[in-house]
């Protein structure tokens, strides 16, 4: 069948294309151009000029058509600006989720359908399992490369159309070996990194450029509003963090952490680490990959890209879900809270910003 392969120019998606071709599919490659290739390209970042060349070289070598899709404006609007806006609203966003959700799994997938493809494949490390109720999304075999958390917002309709051939690979070495077997020039290429759109400096510069009103020093205050220190810019702080607090890191013998960020007032709010944990949180924009159980469900939730899932009870609400944690934790607004059962994703949403964290 005709399959569109989303090619980043890296080794993973190149192997996907080569494998599908070997299996006898009609492979069509597509690479998103996310920013002007004439700009400074960041080493290790995805979808810059060199990566487009690499993807094209792979397609030429293997002999299938390849297209470069202009997604500059869309990426700017739907990912970069939203990323900066979320920071400006005091959240810590996950831009990769927004990118997968919008540019990749909505736009590119729509294009795949427009060209008459029957499926779209990517080099993501997740497994798509054909279950009794349709396609299921699972963690990959290679836990070290698990990208399932970043893909929680994939809808059931999208999942139905998607293929993730690398979900079964034991490790990256095996993928590189396969790339060598296919004779791909990208076999030894370094992995891409997160925050692909931050070209130089850091995301802090980017957000401050887009929201200059947030830039500059401000106050660190405790939960009752007393000034306890100073900081260099609210952009550098995420709920749950204890670094960069200077002398305020320990107050009255207690370790402190960030419990809130107020970009408008350039304030960072801290509280005692031992008391700042919450056992209930609210999530929005919930995507269910199972029929949402009205009575709620007990599962594991993962609230950061890299952390151990914890046991929780998830209750669907009219505007999202409430998550009741077995053991208190420190969720960061804007991050994803993904519901797992074993290796399978049941759903997930974005953590809401609450005015006052519930202290225990």
């Amino acid at each position: 069948m005709r399959i569109l392969v989303a090619m980043s120019g890296g080794v993973d998606s190149s192997v996907v294309a080569a494998r599908l071709l070997e299996e006898g599919h009609e492979v069509v490659g597509a690479t998103l151009q996310l920013y002007d290739s004439r700009g400074a390209a960041k080493k290790g970042a995805c979808c810059a000029g060199q990566d487009i060349r690499d993807a094209r070289a792979v397609a030429d070598r293997l002999g299938f058509p390849h297209y470069v899709i202009d997604a500059e404006r869309r990426f700017q609007d739907s990912v970069i600006e939203r990323f900066a806006d979320a920071y400006a609203a005091g959240e810590t966003p996950v831009p990769c989720v927004a990118c997968n959700q919008g540019v990749k799994f909505t736009d590119l997938l729509g294009l795949a359908k427009e060209i008459g493809a029957e499926a779209m494949a990517t080099g993501h490390y997740v497994r798509r399992v054909e279950g009794p109720q349709g396609a299921e999304l699972h963690r990959p075999v290679d836990e070290a490369r698990d990208q399932s958390w970043f893909l929680f917002a994939t809808t059931r309709a999208q999942l139905d159309f998607l293929r993730f051939p690398l979900g079964d690979m034991p490790d990256k070495a095996a993928v590189r070996q396969e790339a060598e077997r296919y004779g791909l020039v990208v076999a030894g290429k370094p992995d891409s990194q997160d925050l692909c759109f931050v070209s130089d400096g850091s995301y802090v510069d980017l957000v401050e450029r887009m929201h200059p009103e947030m830039a500059g020093p401000g106050e660190i205050v405790d939960q009752s509003g007393h000034v306890v220190g100073a900081h260099e810019g609210v952009m550098r702080f995420t709920v749950g963090q204890s670094k960069r607090l200077g002398n305020a890191a320990r107050l009255q013998g207690e370790r402190q952490m960030v419990v809130g960020v107020e970009p408008g007032r350039k304030r960072v709010i801290i509280g005692p680490r031992a008391h700042a944990f919450v056992s209930a949180l609210s999530v929005r924009d919930v995507n269910w990959l199972v029929d949402a159980p009205p009575e709620g469900l007990v599962c594991k939730v993962q609230m950061r890209a890299r952390e151990e899932p914890r046991t929780a009870r998830v209750l669907p609400t009219a505007d999202g879900a409430t998550v009741l944690l077995d053991a208190p934790a420190m969720p960061a607004p804007g991050q994803a809270c993904v519901f797992y059962q074993g290796s399978r994703i049941l759903g997930g949403g974005f953590i809401r910003r609450t005015e006052q964290p519930v202290t225990v």
Binding site: M1, R2, E26, V28, Q33, S37, G49, I52, R56, P65, Y67, V68, I69, D70, G110, L111, E114, I115, G116, A117, E118
Partner: protein
């Protein structure tokens, strides 16, 4: 005329000798259909090579000398170069010493703007090719000339702009638009430019070789053309300057002082010979492609398309077809996978499909991202158009090979 048709027929047989004609109603193996015998309808990106141009190129490639060398080998090369120059000059009605060979259309345009535009303010059409839009010297004073909904320059606004400034103007307006084929009212434009003492530079890359053109008559002070858009090879173009006396022109780079000190670098003789042969072949065997183009447009409209620029005089080979709600890149890919080569806007080096500034300038809004360009080459056959219509209709309906 007969010559061109015959050549086209031979080519068509080569392309369609297997698979297509007899297999129209059969399921054809995808790969064979897609890549072995594509239908090439992207002449405005580059024309297929004309056999006469090929022959001239090969002959010139065997000439060893450098036209600047004094020995007999050099003299032979020089003779060939000057013969090409004289032919070009006579066909385009310009003095031989006012024909400056360049590497192509972009260079010819940029050379004109840099070499002739000093001390002038630029007035540039909104729908110009990027070669012109991005070709002005750094820091130049640039005013943009709006077009009407058909894509023709607004003469009232041109006159107002000419009238407004105190410094003399350098007006850049193309003869035929690469995306829509729309022709500007050049006579009127030239009259206004003369009236206000403005220099008129005409990018004639899409028009030269496709219609009789006299630099002397058309009113352009300078005019750019390109070999591969006439059916010659890529790699040569020319800047033509009006007037009987050699016109001074500051070079972009001096090099060895070639082309009367107006363009440095050894002349690419094979490409130049091919350009001139292609020009002559095109003018000697004129072919009106409008009937085929019109047939294609009628079918596309029946499938839901809108023809952009249809209300203005146009090149006979060009159709700009917008399909509301369907992204240009999807249309392009779908047609390509079906073995039909067309484009969206101008070909860009990165290969990406972008929003059309031309259609945007015409006020077409969203449609600027939803149009493809079909441009018929000199050797187009009816069967090519039929096959395009078939693919386009299928694409517009949203059903495809894969789902059939």
């Amino acid at each position: 005329m007969t010559g061109a048709v015959l050549c086209g027929l031979q080519k068509a047989q080569f392309w369609y000798g297997f698979g297509y004609i007899n297999g129209m109603n059969k399921k054809i193996d995808d790969k064979e259909m897609n890549f072995s015998n594509p239908v090439y309808l992207d002449a405005n990106a580059t024309e297929p090579l004309r056999p006469k141009a090929r022959a001239a190129m090969l002959e010139a490639a065997d000439v060893t000398g450098n036209p600047s060398s004094v020995h007999q080998a050099g003299r032979r090369a020089r003779a060939l170069l000057e013969e090409a120059r004289n032919t070009l000059a006579s066909r385009m009605d310009v003095a031989p010493l006012n024909c400056v060979f360049t590497a192509g259309g972009t260079e010819a345009n940029v050379l004109a703007m840099h070499g002739l535009g000093q001390g002038r303010r630029f007035l540039v059409g909104r729908t110009e090719h990027d070669a012109v839009r991005k070709g002005m010297p750094d820091g130049a004073d640039v005013g943009w000339l709006e077009v009407d909904t058909h894509g023709q320059v607004r003469l009232d606004l041109l006159e107002a702009a000419l009238h407004a400034g105190s410094t003399p103007a350098f007006v850049c307006l193309m003869l035929a638009n690469n995306e829509t084929g729309v022709l500007h009212p050049l006579d009127e434009v030239a009259r206004l430019c003369r009236q206000y003492g403005a220099h008129l530079h005409v990018d004639a890359v899409q028009a030269a070789g496709r219609m009789e053109l006299s630099v002397e008559q058309c009113g352009a002070d300078s005019l750019a053309c390109s070999g591969h858009k006439m059916g010659g090879p890529k790699g040569a173009g020319a800047l033509l300057l009006r007037g009987p006396a050699p016109r001074p022109l500051t070079p972009l780079f001096e090099g060895g002082g070639q082309e009367q000190g107006r363009r440095g670098g050894t002349q690419p003789l094979p490409a130049i010979a091919g350009l001139v042969a292609a020009l002559c072949d095109g003018l000697d065997n004129p072919r009106d492609l409008a009937p085929l183009r019109n047939r294609l447009e009628q079918a596309a409209c029946a499938a839901g398309a809108v023809v952009c620029g249809a209300g203005a005089p146009r090149l006979g080979n060009t159709a700009s077809l917008a399909l509301a709600g369907r992204r240009a890149q999807g249309q392009l890919m779908r047609l390509d996978l079906d073995g039909v080569c067309v484009s969206a806007g101008s070909a860009c080096s990165s290969g990406k499909v972008a929003f059309s500034h031309v259609l945007d300038a015409m006020g077409l809004g969203e449609l600027a991202g939803q149009a493809i360009r079909v441009s018929l080459p000199w050797n187009t056959q009816e069967a090519d158009v039929e096959r395009f219509v078939q693919s386009y209709t299928r694409m517009a309906a949203g059903a495809g090979l894969a789902l059939a």
